[in-house]
Structures are given as C-alpha cells and as structure tokens.
Symmetry: C2
C-alpha cells in the first residue's frame, strides 16, 4: 500500500464494475482488503492498522449505492478496531482472519437465504425474474425438485439476463428469455416474481436493476406474488429520496445525435415496499415489511 498503485486500482475497479451485484462487489472489496493487508510493508503494527483502515475507508466510499460494501467493510473495521498489542506479523494475520470471517458470514447468509427461498417455492411454479442476480441463481440451485419453469428479462443494455437464463437452463430448468418490454406480458404467465436487491432502504423500498419496479407493478397487476431476497447487509439507512442511483455510460443506447436529444442510462430503480409480498433474508421470511425495519 506504500506503493499507492495497487490499492487505487482496486478502488477504481470496484467503482467501475457495472456487472456484478452488491454481494459480489462487497466480497471483492473484502478480498481487496486482504490483499492490501498482505502487501502493506509497514514495519509497525500501528502503522499497518492505520494504513489498512485508510484503504478500507476508500473501499467503503467507492460505491455509495451499494450499502453491502459499507456495511461489510464496516463489520471488519469494528472487528479490528483498538490499538494492536501484538507484533506486526500477528497483526497482519488478525486483520486477514477478520476479513475472512466477514466473507464467511456473507457466504453463509446467502446460503441460508437461498435454502429458505427454495423451500418456499412450490413445485410447478413459473418464476419470473430479471437481469443477473447471484442470489436468485443460488435459490434455483438449492431447489430440491427442479419442477419449475423460469422467465428471465434480459436487462438491456448490459444483457445480464442472458447469463442467468443460461445458468438456469443449465440446471435443467425450462427457461424463456424475454426483452424487458415484455415483462407485462409474461408476468401474467407466471406464478411468482422473484428478485434480488442491491439495497433495501430505511423505508423498505428496494433498489435493484432498472426494470425491477416494472416487474413489481406487473406482478401486482397480474396478482402474482413478488418476493425480494436480500441479506441484512444490504440494508441502508437512507430513504428513497436521498439514495444515489448510479447512472452509467449512455453510448450503449446508440442514440441519434441531436443537440436536443439526451440518452439516459440509470442502472437501478426503486421499488416501493408496498409492492413487495414477501421479504426473505438469512433469518427467514416476513410479509409486509422487511424484518426489523
């Protein structure tokens, strides 16, 4: 970390990664942190801790729209706070072990969540979702009986839905891939809408890939339940009005060039809590409001 390069490049990569979801980014941030602790050439334990904490602060700030990063790096910071009393080699091990434990808690949370969601999905269901969600993929992998069908909206402009559709088809699940514009049509042919989330806000609203709010409205209109799978580390203290929605590069829209024409590419939208039927996290599931909110 004295060689400024590595850490800065990691923070920049985290800032630019538009494909991975909240948990995968947070996990990456923790791996970056471990790597930074390893590389730091500080000679004193205090120096090692303060250098590492400074880098952790940069990682926390890289994606304000991904509370998992802030929350999980924050858990690590809490675990390692207090002046080191052991030599630098032991301090280094302690910092790395603490990060590993946070990563393990992330993995066991999604595992518990996926098992709970899989248990709740009835055989014969037709499940509609959108984009790539490693949580949703995990749920499908845990289904004991794969007697379900899937419908996946592609999620233009990055088409992450193609990867999820391929994953589900590979699990043996008959899967239809649709354009985002067909969500209204296909919600009516589904029995369950299931999504992950990048953030759950203090008012219970759900930040996820743009189009999620449309799926929630279409599910409501079609009288199809809408379930949100999100571990507790995705909770944000912000309300919907204050939450920053990331806008990404607009060149992918291939808009005609005109001085009065502005392409827009906001990657996420906010689904109000009132449209959510069931909330699933690592502790179980609730109706009406996310647990503890």
């Amino acid at each position: 970390m004295h060689e400024h390069g590595t850490g800065t490049a990691d923070v920049e990569a985290l800032r630019r990664d538009r494909r991975r979801g909240a948990r995968e980014l947070a996990r990456q941030a923790l791996e970056d942190l471990i790597e930074a602790v390893r590389r730091c050439d500080a000679g004193e334990p205090d120096e090692l801790l303060s250098e590492t904490l400074r880098f952790a602060g940069q990682l926390r700030a890289a994606r304000p729209a991904m509370p998992s990063i802030e929350n999980l790096i924050g858990r690590w910071q809490d675990a390692v706070s207090g002046a080191p009393t052991e030599p630098v080699a032991e301090t280094r091990m302690r910092l790395i072990d603490a990060a590993r434990r946070v990563i393990e808690s992330v993995d066991s949370a999604v595992e518990a969540l996926a098992r709970e969601a899989a248990r709740l999905i009835e055989p014969g269901s037709t499940v509609i979702t959108l984009s790539w969600s490693s949580t949703v993929a995990a749920v499908f992998r845990r289904l004991e009986e794969r007697d379900v069908r899937a419908i996946v909206a592609e999620s233009r402009p990055l088409f992450e839905g193609r990867a999820l559709a391929e994953e589900l088809a590979g699990l043996g699940i008959p899967t239809e891939l649709i354009t985002d514009a067909q969500i209204g049509l296909f919600a009516k042919r589904s029995t369950l809408a299931l999504v992950g989330a990048d953030a759950i806000l203090s008012d219970g609203s759900v930040v996820n890939k743009a189009g999620t709010s449309l799926l929630a409205m279409a599910a409501r209109e079609a009288d199809v339940p809408f379930w949100v799978c999100a571990e507790t580390h995705k909770r944000s203290r912000l309300e919907a009005d204050a939450f920053p929605l990331e806008e990404i590069e607009t060149s992918v829209l291939e808009a005609p060039r005109h001085e009065r024409l502005t392409p827009r590419n906001i990657g996420f939208d906010v689904t109000p809590a009132t449209l959510v039927t069931r909330w699933i996290d690592e502790r179980g599931s609730t109706f009406g409001r996310p647990r503890g909110a």
Copy 2:
C-alpha cells in the same frame, strides 16, 4: 392482378412489415389496392370488380392483429359493392376514387385527433411515451407552444423509439431517450404519458407495442395521467383473450444456445382499460371508456 406476382408480393410485404403502425399499414394496404385496380387487365367491369374484391380480401386477412386494415378495406368494400353499371374504364376510376376517399378520411381523422390532443396538453408538460407512433408524432407537431419536454423509451428490439426521439428533438423539443427498463424511473419524472395504439379491443383494452402496459402501470403508480390516442378505425370486435398478439423473430435477442432456453419476442401487449385516464379519437376525448364502447 392476372399476373399474380404483384398483388401477392404486396400482401407479403404487408404481412412482414414490423416497423410501421396500424394506420400506416392500413394506408399502405389502400395504396396497394389502388395500384392493383390500375394494373388489373380485366376486360369487363364485373371481372375488374370481382378481381379487386378478391385482392381486398387478401389484404384484409394479412394482419389479423391490425384491425385498421380490416376496417378501412371494409369501408372501401362497402363503398364499391353492387354490380357495376358503367364501362370498365369508369368502374376503374370509381374503385380508385373510393379508395382515395378512404385514405383522405384516414388522414383527416389523425389530423383531427392530433389537434384535439395537442389542445389538451398543457404548456410545461413532460410527456413520456415509447416506440414510434405516427399519431404521437402528429400530436407533437400540432402543439402551438412547444414548451414541453419529452421522454421516449427506445422499444427494443427494433428501437423504433430512436426515430421518434430524433423527430421530437428536430421539432425543438428537449427529449430524453431511455431504455425500456427505465420506464418506471422516468414515469415519476413525467407529468403525462401519451401513447398511440394498434388496436382498441371491445372491452376497451389497448393493443400497442410491448412495454405499453408497463408504462400505463408506472404512470398509475406515479399518479401521472395515461392518455391513449387512437382513431375509431382501430376498434376491434375481439376481446383481449381472443386477440392474436404477433410474435416476431427471436434471433435479435441473441440468446445463448441451450436446449432448455427459449427466446421470446412478442411485439405487442395489452393494456387494460382501467389503466387509461383519457381516450382521444377524431371526434374528441372521453374519460373512463373509449367513446361508443
């Protein structure tokens, strides 16, 4: 028409045209009919009439999901029915004149509709729409004060929204082009949702480009009025359950290849009448239900 080629090619072109909307297709069908009357080498007036009526029947049947074609060709059939009493040259002129009058009625209907809609749009409005609609374009062209803003969803996979956005920007209207997935986000930033239609069904539901039902739901959720502009020739006697929704080629989705993965590309969806705030046709506007339905 004795040379089978031309007429058949016209019917085939009409069947394959996935870019143009209902009125433009119906107008094309009437132009095809005029051309067919011109080319028909029948020696007797009866023969000319029966040949032309047979071709009209083929045109009517080309696009069951576009009632304008059936209705407007039907108007022409009504106008020319009855055995000819004049020589073949006069019969030919009469058949062509009748088609020209139907075309004029189509043009004057959209003109009257556009004037009415333009009159109703308040200065300062931000109007959200999707895809290409020649009706919506006509409404914007008739605005006396162009003190409005526009938001256009691109309408993947054919991206007809780009053409509308470019047209509106060219009228001097500040226009944002968005992905279909952002409709939920941008409905909240609008003051009016405005769409055309390919068909109005007997239960008042609206057939239009896929994604229209999502825009209607998002408008409802955001408390933004949702207006439908559709001339009376777009009325169908069918109900939503019986109406054929055209599915188009799926290769544009570039789906990963897997035996369990099926790409879907239904081009239109059905918006229930309950989501429509205002109906505008060439006779004026109504609330609640389309006039006469």
